[in-house]
Symmetry: C2
Subunit: 345 residues, 2 copies
DNA sequence: TTGTAAGCGTTATCAT
DNA sequence: ATGATAACGCTTACAA
């Protein structure tokens, strides 16, 4: 930061042209250049042409930050997810991106594993650089942290436990999905049904566990804590848990994983141990990520419209930004459906 | 744009605090606030405390765009990919993100399907908002288009056919990977090996096709145009192509898809038609995306270190930005390796 | 140790 | 139809 030569960190090449350079070259004022470029006022045709030529020659591109400063809009929307990796997030990003492009917005993506400071940092970095924010924070406390900021930049929460009535929240029917899947297993004769849980502080995981328990209770099957295995939504956790399940006595006849990644890890373990699926043990997952139908055997799962979730979140955000969203539409719950394939009868 | 009340599109809540508000509240000058916040100069401890308190009370967050304007750095890096969807891009983003976080940068992601205007628009939108750019444009012309801009913002090209010596380019060994896979098939007795090609203008696709042909020629097997089926890297294309392959007479004994998505589509088609894999027809793909090992039968593929590709691209960019990258390291080629699973003998 | 003030590159409000 | 010029919110010489 010694010499005062902005935008010159990239050593080679001439200094980037500004609107003043264009104005000088076209022999007009900067105001006229701005009007010509944005169609924001009357400009004579030949003046406009002179400006266009100068822009071409100088390879002028308007400076985004400067523009944002005065217009107070950045034309970008922030997206903060727990991770950018894996099919689930890939699908969600796809949905978000599709809507964003349609509305002409750029996306500022960031991942924040659930360290509180990390997520706070990402938020600060985004602030002032985005016109709105989509935030997914299944961890309880984080969601509350962000709820305080809702008066600054419009925020839409995905699958986050936010209580405030005036927060924009979109969730999926975790409880209902898990409930119906377990009911389905019971109806097919299963009585000892194990579950691989998600992370302890994860809201989705908690809801799915609740659905599992309620289904058992409503079916007159006793809940057994030993059948509730700890997991963390990773493939590795599912792999480990399945090994544990096989050692239980009596052995469960069905295994419900709180997400597909763990179910797929479990399938690997079961194949390794020679346990036939679904004959010896039925397996079901949650999310219905695209791979689910390709694994062997094809995985039964609770279908979540993941891309649509992202799409709807973006629509909600766009509505919030224009202020056109009425109070009634602030909370959206997307339904989940059962997809029964060969991994469970 | 009628009333002059910046940053007020979000109706409710008080106006966002600026550094002046903080200065007034802390009874110091804006310069002192800035110094206190950035540790960019001497500030007495109790002054610093007063500032911190004011920041807290007013919920002040510095305005990113304003800061960028003066410092001429945005702390974000742009990433422009053909698509944000699918396992391949998910993995690449993961690698990029990992490195970016380590270096303290935000990511501005955008997808541009290969319409020339679309990609140009995305670039303009990013310009001035990013300190550097990672760009993946397998389409020939686009890469050339961007090569012109290399003197403005540092750009790293992934898998893009850019000729200029001074461009930063990172690619994978497409030709070698395809070559070795086809050689492997030949060594296992296959003589009639069909290929499902990628898009016509796609550089990766062209290189992989070249590898396929060279391997056949070097093995003394004649190339047969009828065995080169058109595809476009989508699952659907693979599905269609496999149906065509089954109708060929004599029927090929092996099918090499130019990427895994098409190979997986082909597997579906073959299963539907009752063609046993690998007994009747061997199948191999390219990329080795995470699903590959889970499909049935597990798919042989040319392994590409996808996440690493993103990581290296980011490292290259960071080097380019600090000017520390020497001329020698401007072009990187990552090796590919064979992963033989049960879909091919 | 602190304050004053000059920008950064753009858009918007006036005159003309 | 065009030109001056004042913002926008921040950082940073330079002066005190």
């Amino acid at each position: 930061m010694s010499t005062r030569s902005p935008r010159s960190r990239h050593p080679e090449g001439p200094r980037q042209a500004t609107i003043r350079d264009v104005a000088r070259a076209a022999r007009v004022s900067v105001a006229t250049v701005s009007r010509a470029l944005n169609d924001s006022g009357p400009v004579r045709d030949d003046t406009r042409r002179r400006v266009r030529d100068a822009v071409q020659n100088l390879r002028f591109t308007p400076h985004g930050a400067a523009r944002s400063l005065i217009t107070s809009r950045t034309n970008t929307l922030g997206v903060l997810l727990p991770d950018l990796y894996g099919e689930f997030f890939s699908e969600i990003i796809r949905g978000i991106d599709r809507e964003a492009q349609r509305a002409g917005y750029q996306l500022l993506l960031s991942s924040a594993r659930n360290a509180r400071d990390e997520i706070k940092g990402a938020f600060r970095a985004m602030y002032g650089c985005v016109d709105g924010l989509i935030l997914m924070a299944p961890d309880v406390e984080l969601a509350e942290l962000f709820a305080q900021h809702r008066d600054r930049t419009p925020i839409v929460f995905i699958n986050s436990p936010v209580e405030s009535d005036d927060a924009y929240v979109i969730t999926i029917d975790n409880h209902g999905g898990a409930y119906r899947m377990v009911k389905h297993l019971v109806q097919n004769g299963h009585r000892r049904i194990a579950i691989i849980r998600g992370g302890n502080r994860n809201h989705d995981a908690a809801e799915r566990l609740r659905g599992y328990r309620d289904a058992l209770i409503d079916s007159g099957v006793a809940c057994d804590p030993r059948l509730e295995l700890q997991g963390d939504f990773t493939e590795a956790a599912g792999y480990r848990a399945a090994h544990t399940v096989l050692k239980l006595d009596p052995r469960p006849t069905a295994l419900f994983a709180a997400n597909d990644a763990m179910a797929i890890g479990a399938l690997s373990a079961l194949r390794e141990e020679g346990a036939a699926v679904p004959e010896e043990i039925a397996v079901a997952g949650f999310d219905d990520i695209p791979i689910a139908r390709y694994v062997s055997p094809p995985l039964s799962s609770v279908h979540v419209p993941i891309a649509r979730l992202g799409e709807r979140a973006m629509k909600l955000l766009l509505g919030a930004m224009t202020g056109s969203a009425n109070g009634a539409g602030r909370r959206v719950v997307l339904p989940t459906t059962l997809v029964i394939r060969t991994s469970s009868p």
